[in-house]
């Protein structure tokens, strides 16, 4: 894919922009610049693409662990890696995601993927299973009108409050009178005082729909996060999010690099930038070569460190975990809310990737856990969450679960459905001790510096530093960051990915035109006669009234 140029004996190579690191944001910028005719040289000290976003096979992972633990030379956002790998695993059958993320179907990043056509290099899979850990079990999150209507556990008034909130949040930016005074207040306070929502609903909205680390998250931020999930439902089907196969971030970074290469950017992996002379504008690589950089250097290494540290854990288990997946899907999100794991201040977020994700062989699954808690505390809570996951999967996948029920413990709902006393059920479930135990094939814990509050990349010299990946489980802020860097180089964002891919037929240009418009405009059904998809919570056009 990348072409390596062989410099002539004593000539210096020149480029307009040298980008150091093939992380996601830098790769987007590389492609954007290359398509606008900029001469880009894109290098990475690793022998793989993706940087901090990469998905590594087991050999690469071992090397990475050693690098990361060598404090003297470590210039990644990662540290404190502890790795256990079972013997006899084929290293190439795994793609361990260092920084897993999911992609919401209504997002500027997805729009960019389509507009740039990088989506054509990738294979995406749906993710519709979001669970909240409540009272020792995983409850599926009610995120649609259908879920709320058919729920047998929500009261009538709760259904009304939830629906009223959902309708508001779809359009929350337009209704600032309702939330303006709560702008920086905790979202839990807003949901309670303004919408009368109860604790269980608040927990689900905050944690599993908003993917927020705590109910103390400020209201303005939280409303955006909640809206993101709800408006993403029904865009492509009954799921709000997707992920790309073989590694959620690394593949995307590689896709943008490929796009940049098609546009003329030059790629060199396994190449370090060891110095830059401001006076001669010459960059020195570890091969000894000197590159003259006429415009800027964008560097992701030796970087503006993020202000917070999160803790991550990866566990490869010998279970397919299909009990957690929706039909036709191979992944799930499980959230352990605040205070459900012996006093955790922050949620623990788990992304479960089955073998269908291409990250592991069949019959296995990868559990990616993360929490905003740092250090020893962080690891402690991840281990507690891991235990709960283990209990739950063993319980749900076991074939020999039995317990006795007598008639008195069964009551009937008005519509005839039998319901077993939940106290009794909970008891039995808690007393259940599985006959088998879970086999772990790999365990990895590590810390990662991330950006919680978005920092502005500064550019006082020719060298611009990028910022570390954000904490969100979803891709957030990628496009904004990329545009920001692009502007620092070119002075504008007007022509950011404004590309004519030079297709001859009308169809292709129609696609490009369609990609220009927000997917939402295409999806919104304003004509009564045309069947389209619309969010459950928006006004349905063309209602009959007598």
């Amino acid at each position: 894919m990348a072409t390596t140029t062989t410099p002539a004996a004593d000539s210096t190579e020149t480029c307009d922009v040298l980008i150091y690191g093939t992380g996601l944001v830098e790769s987007v910028v590389a492609a954007a610049l290359a398509w606008q005719g900029t001469n880009v040289l894109h290098i990475d000290s690793n022998p793989y693409y993706g940087g901090s976003w990469a998905a590594l096979n087991l050999d690469e992972l071992k090397a990475w662990t050693d690098r990361v633990n060598d404090a003297a030379s470590n210039n990644t956002p990662f540290s404190d890696a502890y790795l256990y790998i079972s013997r006899n695993l084929d290293p190439r059958k795994y793609a361990i995601d260092l920084s897993p993320h999911i992609l919401f179907t209504r997002s500027d990043f997805l729009n960019l993927l389509i507009k740039s056509r990088v989506s054509r290099y990738l294979e995406f899979k749906p993710l519709g299973s979001f669970h909240t850990f409540e009272q020792d079990s995983f409850e599926k999150v009610p995120g649609t009108k259908e879920d709320i209507f058919t729920s047998q556990t929500l009261t009538l008034l709760t259904k009304r409050s939830l629906m009223r909130f959902m309708k508001f949040v779809i359009d929350w930016e337009q209704n600032s009178t309702i939330w303006q005074e709560y702008k920086d207040e905790p979202i839990s306070k807003f949901l309670d005082e303004r919408f009368g929502l109860d604790a269980p609903q608040i927990v689900e909205l905050v944690h599993s729909i908003g993917l927020l680390p705590t109910p103390k998250a400020p209201t303005e931020l939280a409303l955006g996060a909640i809206k993101r999930y709800l408006t993403s439902m029904q865009v492509y089907g009954n799921f709000p999010a997707m992920y790309s196969m073989y590694g959620t971030g690394g593949e995307l970074a590689q896709g943008f690099c490929r796009s940049a290469a098609v546009a003329g950017a030059v790629y060199r992996l396994g190449t370090k930038l060891i110095g830059f002379d401001e006076t001669t504008s010459e960059a020195e690589l570890d091969s000894g070569e000197k590159i003259k950089v006429t415009e800027k250097i964008i560097s992701s290494e030796g970087v503006i460190a993020g202000d917070e540290e999160i803790t991550r854990m990866v566990a490869v288990v010998e279970k397919d975990c299909k009990e957690w997946f929706a039909e036709g899907e191979s992944s799930a999100v499980v959230i352990f809310p605040v205070d459900t794991l012996d006093g955790n201040r922050y949620a623990v977020q788990v992304l479960v990737m089955g073998s269908g994700s291409g990250q592991c062989p069949s019959g296995q699954a990868i559990w990616y856990l993360s929490t905003q808690e740092s250090g020893e505390q962080g690891r402690k809570y991840l281990y507690v969450a891991l235990e709960k996951l283990e209990e739950t999967i063993l319980r749900e996948s076991t074939e020999d679960f039995e317990f006795d029920v007598n008639e008195e413990e069964i009551s009937y709902l008005p519509n005839g459905l039998p319901v077993i006393s939940s106290v009794r059920l909970g008891e039995s479930l808690r007393n259940f001790s599985p006959k088998e135990s879970l086999k772990y094939l790999l365990k990895l814990t590590y810390s990662q510096k991330v950006t919680v509050s978005p920092l502005e990349p500064t550019a006082d010299s020719k060298v611009i530093y990028t910022i570390a990946p954000s904490i969100d489980l979803a891709f957030e802020g990628i496009v904004d960051q990329a545009k920001g860097l692009y502007e620092l180089v070119t002075g504008t964002t007007d022509d950011f990915f404004d590309v004519d891919f030079e297709d001859e037929d009308d169809d292709a240009t129609a696609t490009a035109a369609a990609a220009d418009t927000d997917i939402r405009d295409v999806a919104e059904d304003k004509d009564d006669d045309v069947v389209g998809h619309h969010s459950d919570f928006e006004e349905v056009a063309g209602e009959m009234t007598i």
Binding site: W35, F149, L156, L157, K159, M163, L413, V499, D500, V531
Partner: protein, 322 residues
């Protein structure tokens, strides 16, 4: 060279489109002239048939052309064997299927399909049910589909001698659970319930009514703005086709529902449908109990005039009739 910026002049695009369409209009007019001449000449040849095919592909709403097509087919059938007729009909059904995908809400397409099945020596009702189920998967609110479904079910029942009331009832339940904002599904339910109660006498009608009220109340609270829900609720509360309630039982039911709606009104004070339903039910209650109307009914109608000023004269009319 790549990175050439695309200049989209919309005026240019519009002019281009106009030019293309002008050509198409001339073509279409010629087709129509041709068709009118053909029909006046009673041309029932295969050539005429393919003329109608071309025309109908462009404009299925031109029902006269469908009439002509049926005239042609009928004339052809007169001299054909049952097998030939069947294969012609099968072709028609395939032609119609493609039209339906493009124009799912065109009366004449559904109508012609019905005619085809009626003219068919051996119609496949199983296939038709599958087809209409697929169409309703694409758009559960297509009343043409529901109407056609009732027709298909009726014919199937006649052909097999077996009632389909139970599976059809369950089908409406599935559709409603997926999206209860569906006039047709609720309507179908009102047709099925009386039949269901008649055909399965072991069902406790009162329990069924209770369950339906539970279901509709969930819908009411989930989306009080959905009119289809209120229409169904009104049927449940006032119909004699579910349970023959005594005067007192009817009063109790009304009072219970009034209370439920008032609770909803409490959290949604501007709900038009709550107010309308309360005004109506309270009016009904007063009539049944031979009592004078509560002043609250006037209150509801006053409030309705405020929040729904487009219909204020209608509410005024209502007030005058009290």
């Amino acid at each position: 060279m790549h990175s050439v910026k695309r200049e989209r002049t919309s005026a240019k695009v519009r002019e281009e489109r106009r030019r293309r369409e002008a050509g198409k209009i001339v073509e279409y007019k010629a087709l129509v002239d041709n068709f009118l001449t053909s029909r006046n000449n009673h041309d029932y040849t295969p050539g005429a048939l393919s003329l109608t095919t071309t025309l109908l592909k462009q404009n299925p709403e031109y029902y006269t052309v469908w009439n002509y097509r049926r005239e042609i087919l009928s004339s052809m059938f007169q001299t054909q064997t049952a097998d030939t007729i069947q294969s012609q009909i099968d072709n028609e059904l395939q032609f119609l299927f493609a039209r339906l995908i493009e124009y799912p809400k065109c009366y004449w397409i559904w109508n012609h399909r019905k005619w085809c099945l009626q003219s068919s020596p051996s119609p496949s009702w199983k296939f038709e049910l599958g087809l209409v189920t697929k169409m309703l998967d694409r758009d559960a609110r297509n009343f043409h589909g529901w109407h056609y479904r009732r027709y298909v079910v009726q014919c199937t029942e006649k052909a097999t001698g077996k009632s389909m009331v139970r599976p059809e009832f369950d089908y409406t339940t599935t559709k409603i659970n997926a999206n209860f904002s569906n006039f047709s599904a609720w309507h179908n339910r009102t047709k099925l319930i009386p039949r269901l109660l008649k055909e399965e006498p072991e069902i406790d009608a009162r329990k069924l009514l209770e369950n339906e009220i539970y279901l509709i109340t969930q819908a009411m609270y989930t989306d009080p703005d959905d009119q289809s829900v209120w229409l169904y609720h009104r049927w449940l509360v006032t119909s004699d086709d579910i349970v023959k309630l005594s005067g007192d039982e009817r009063k109790d039911l009304l009072e219970k529902e009034i209370k439920s709606i008032q609770e909803l009104l409490g959290v949604e004070p501007d709900s038009k449908w709550c107010l309308q339903s309360l005004a109506f039910y309270k009016g009904l209650l007063a009539t049944l109990a031979s009592e004078s109307l509560e002043s609250s009914v006037h209150g509801y109608l006053d409030r309705l005039q405020e929040i729904d000023p487009m219909r204020k004269n209608r509410y005024q009319d209502w007030k005058n009739q009290l």
